[in-house]
Structure formats: C-alpha cells, structure tokens
Amino acid sequence: MNIVVCVKQTPDTAATISIEEGKATWGDAPLVLNPWDEYAVEQAILTREELGGKVTALSLGPEEAREALKLALAMGCDEAILINDPLFESADTLIVSRALAAGIMKLGEVELVFFGRASVDSDSGVLGSQTARRLGWPSISWAAAISHHEGAIEVERMIDEGRQVVRSSLPAVISVVKEINEPRYPSFMGIRKASKAEIPTWSAESIGIDGSLSPAVTWPEMFAPQVKSAECEFIAGQSAQEIAEGLADRLIAEKVI
C-alpha cells in the first residue's frame, strides 16, 4: 500500500515566540517536526508494518524543512520529498492544500494519506480536510484508532461529544490525534540512514502549478497578547479551612462564581 504522511516543520512548543519586523520569531529555539505530525508519521509506519508497502513523507516548506523530513525518515519512512518553490512563500492553506494534493497525485496510486491534527504554529487544523477535498477523497479527522478491512477502513474518531466509528472506502485522508499511538524514537540505524538519504525537491512547475499564486488570506499585522497586569492575590490562613473560606469569599465577592 502506498502511504503518504504530510508533515511540517515548526518551532518547538517550549519556544518563546515574539515579533520582529512584523514576523514571528523564536530566537534560538529549535525547529522540530510538528508534534502532532509525529503521531501521523508513527501511524503511517505502523500501517506499513501491518499491510506492507511504502511510506513517503511529504512537506511543503523552506530548505530547512529537510530536517523535519529527515526525522520522519529516521523514524522509518521510506522516502521523503520536499515541495519548495518561491511561489509558495506566503502560501495560505488554499495554496498549500493544492500543492500537497498535486504532490500526492504525482506520487501516484496513493491509498492513504496521514496528517497530524493541526500544526502548532498556525493552528488552523484545516489542511487535512482541504487536501482531501482537493483530491476528492473522504476526510476522516481526529482518528484515535484504525482497523483495516480489505479496501476499507474503520476509524474510531474522537469527536467533541464522544467517540464515533466510521467506515470508509480507500483512498482516504486521515488526520490523527495523540491517542492513536506512541511515536517511536528514531533508532541509531534510522538516523544514519536518514543522514545519507537524498530528499528530492519538487518545484511548483514539477507538480503542475504555475503562474502567479496570490494567497486569499493575508496577515497584515501580528501582535503579542496583553500581559495581565493584575498581581496575583495570595490567600493565606492558619488552616486549610480558613484558606478555603478566604478563597471562596473572594471568588464570590468578585462575582467570579
């Protein structure tokens, strides 16, 4: 089975993010494989281990994004491809989904595409659904467990209200949540293999996208959230009961409850 996992490179979630010249910056904080995507990569590899086939990691991003692809390879993906082109510099999700769908079609005979639930930088959480729509394939989001049944899949989805089981034909696009697995650490051999691996770059033209692309959505301004100025009011007392009374009274006096 040909499996694709779409990944993105993001700043580490522990990074302090600030604004420099109108753009987000994270200082010396490392760039990592988007944490949600680790689960997608793991699930893609688990699927190959169960059913055989090949896993291709696909990313649209700058040159540095190779590092995220290398991690995907070190975890056990068979191949990696970087879609990189100046045309995609300020791409919004409409453009990225178009490029990813075109990349998936170029790979050919893909049956399953995995995404992480969202990326921790732009936090949109729409790319999997949009790529599925471009491909005309069903989108199965928030997958927490997957079982395979001859050309069909059954997926347990973690929806806001509970757990829902859906059955779908293939090909399909699946976005996964954290509960689905425990991502493996790259093995020593995996890291060695990844460091030597060639990661081809696909240009916009090579996936059939040309002309000028203008994003529908722009981000004209970024700003930091206002820091709450209120000092913390510490509630003290001689006993736990006195403290509890004090806190309850303050919460009621301030009409918090």
Partner: protein, 347 residues
C-alpha cells in the same frame, strides 16, 4: 453597503451547539454596521426545531435542508450542500462556530469556492468595508489580524465563548425556507457512537478545574498492597488526587482538565488535556491544581477570565497569570474548598 451574512448552525444528536448561537450573536454585532440580512443554515434531517431556535436567536431567515441522507453529519455531502447554498445566495460573509464539525465543513467549502477561511477567530471588526478578524497563533502566544479583502464570501469560524451568546427571544419573527440541494452519495458511513464519559465539555465549560503532575504527590496516601509496581502506585495515587478535582468540579458544574504532564504520566485520558497539544479553553474561571504552568499549558488557558492557582511552590510560573493564588497542599485545600463552596453555593 448592505451585506448578507450566512451563519451555519452546528448540531449533534438533535441538539444545536450553544456555540452556534454565539455565531448568530457575532452576526448581529456585525450587522449593526451593515443593516444587511442574517440567514441561518440548518442542514440535516427533521431539524425544523433547530431552525426555529435559530430565529429565536436572531436569524431573520433560515435555509433548512431536510434530507434523510443527511441524517448523520459527514463533511463531504454537507460541504457540497453548503457550497451550493453559498453560491446561490451570494452571501458576503460566512460565520460558523469553530466546533470540530463546522471547522472541517468550512475548510472544504473554502476549497469548493476557492475563498479564504480564517479559523478559530476571537474578534471581528469592520475596517474600510472589509471584515477583519483576529485569531491566536502559536497557541495564543501571538495574535494575528487576518484579512481576506477579495474573498467572496469571507469565511470565519469563531472560537467558543469569544462572542456573546444571544438570549433567545421566543417571539422573534423570521421565515424558514426549505431548500432543495443535490449532494453526492457519501462514501463514509457512521457505524457506531459512544458518548464521552467526561461530563461537562471542556470547550463549552464556564468553569474548568485542572490537575497536574502534583496531583499524584500526596505523601499520606499508601497504595493498596496488591499494587506492587511503582508506576502503578503513582497512577493510583494520582487517581485519588483527581477524585478531589472531580468533587470540586461537580460543585461548580465545571469540566475537568489536566496538564500534559498528567496525561503523559497516564493519570487521566488525553481528552482532558488543556494546552498547546490539547484543548484550548477560555472559561470564566480556571482553577489550576498542582500545575506549575509550563508555557505549553499556559497557551491553552491564558484567555480564562479569572485564574486561580493552588500549588505548593510559590515560584511556579502559573502564579504569574493567576488572579488568586494559594501556596499550599492541594490535598488539604481542595476538600475544604469543595465543602465551603458546596455550603455557600447551596449545593
């Protein structure tokens, strides 16, 4: 210039989600500037009652799509229906709650119509005749203004509890139009459903009580003898600690949250996780118990109106965000707080 606003009403198991009424509230705020028309869209099977509720919540008109094949929500046929309605009605602005379903639906419709979508919006303002939205990025560490000047429609999904919910006006008037729209046969089938056991939903909760790693550190608790594994002993202790959190949550009609550390340690299921890789919540009151306040956790709850922190370490970063703090042993304070609130609130 008059603009028309279309609001998607998300519903599940026969009930509209309260966040849908917030979207109608946001539509009314915007409409004060346009004097346009607010139309709600209800898609499903036998959902006329929800259409009537939409009118009570401020819709001047409702497009109701009633098809047996649309009984279960599936994003693909719903998106086809909604895209067609947006094309036919030439709406200028599309609003929906940022629930999982509605966001996925909006994402697909944006592709169908090749238009821009701003998900998870917390503010909408009118600037030079164009609606501009503000949304958090990097899990709320930054905010970004989003513009979509040439989009028709401009599409926004609205974060829960960021916009005022209108109280229903039972005598409000509006018309319900039954709309016939073709949709493709869905290729996915819903074959099972189990309601979550977690009680109050985190995203909608007005109050959240959360526990962290500290919840397992009650030195006075001795695990039963049949648990020999150290890790299992720790989990057992944490589960006793989370019972205290659940007790307090029950008195406050609150949802139970947890830090990533508590989830990763196996104390509570992932569905409870608040933070950058969990749920983002904006309750009126957030009570953090035994949570030190890692940056990823703060990202998930910093927009709470009032934060209370209970922690034994006075230097815990959570106190920097907190309005009220208690430096102390949560195992002593929580049971007292639960009792005090139970009597003061008359529960």
């Amino acid at each position: 210039m008059a603009k028309s606003i279309l609001v998607y009403v998300d519903h599940f198991d026969g009930k509209a989600l309260p966040a849908s009424w917030e979207a109608l509230g946001a539509a009314q705020q915007l409409n004060q500037k346009f004097a346009g028309e607010i139309t709600a869209v209800v898609v499903g099977h036998q959902k006329r009652e929800i259409a009537e509720q939409a009118i009570a919540h401020g819709a001047q008109r409702v497009f109701l799509v009633d098809k047996e094949g649309l009984n279960h929500f599936r994003p693909e046929p719903y998106a086809s229906v909604l895209s067609q309605i947006l094309r036919d009605s030439e709406a200028d602005i599309f609003l929906s709650p940022n629930t999982g379903r509605a966001r996925e639906l909006a994402a697909m419709v944006a592709v169908d119509l090749e238009t821009g979508l701003s998900p998870d919006v917390i503010q909408l303002v009118l600037e030079d005749g164009v609606v501009s939205a503000t949304r958090p990025i990097y899990a709320g560490k930054l905010f970004v203004k989003v513009r979509c000047a040439d989009c028709t429609p401009q599409m926004f999904t609205l974060r829960g509890r960021a916009f005022p919910k209108q109280e229903p006006a039972p005598d409000a008037e509006g018309k319900i139009e039954l709309v016939e729209v073709a949709f493709p046969e869905p290729v996915t089938h819903v074959i099972g459903y189990k309601e979550s056991e977690s009680g109050v939903s985190l995203s909608d909760a007005a109050v959240v009580v959360s526990g962290g790693r500290g919840v397992s550190n009650n030195p006075k608790l001795i695990a039963p003898q049949d648990i020999t594994d150290e890790k299992e002993k720790e989990i057992w202790r944490a589960q006793q600690g989370f019972k205290l959190i659940q007790d307090l949550a029950r008195v406050l009609d609150a949802a139970v949250g947890a830090s990533r550390a508590a989830v990763d340690a196996g104390y509570v299921p992932y569905a409870h996780q608040v933070g950058q890789t969990g749920k983002v919540v904006s309750p009126d009151l957030y009570i953090a118990c035994g949570i030190s306040g890692a940056i990823q956790h703060l990202a998930g709850m910093r927009t709470a109106k009032t934060i209370v922190a209970i922690n034994k370490d006075v230097n815990a970063p959570i106190f920097k965000l907190a309005r009220f703090g208690v430096v102390g042993d949560l195992f002593e304070i929580l049971p007292e707080l639960t009792e005090v609130l139970r009597s003061k609130l008359g529960k």
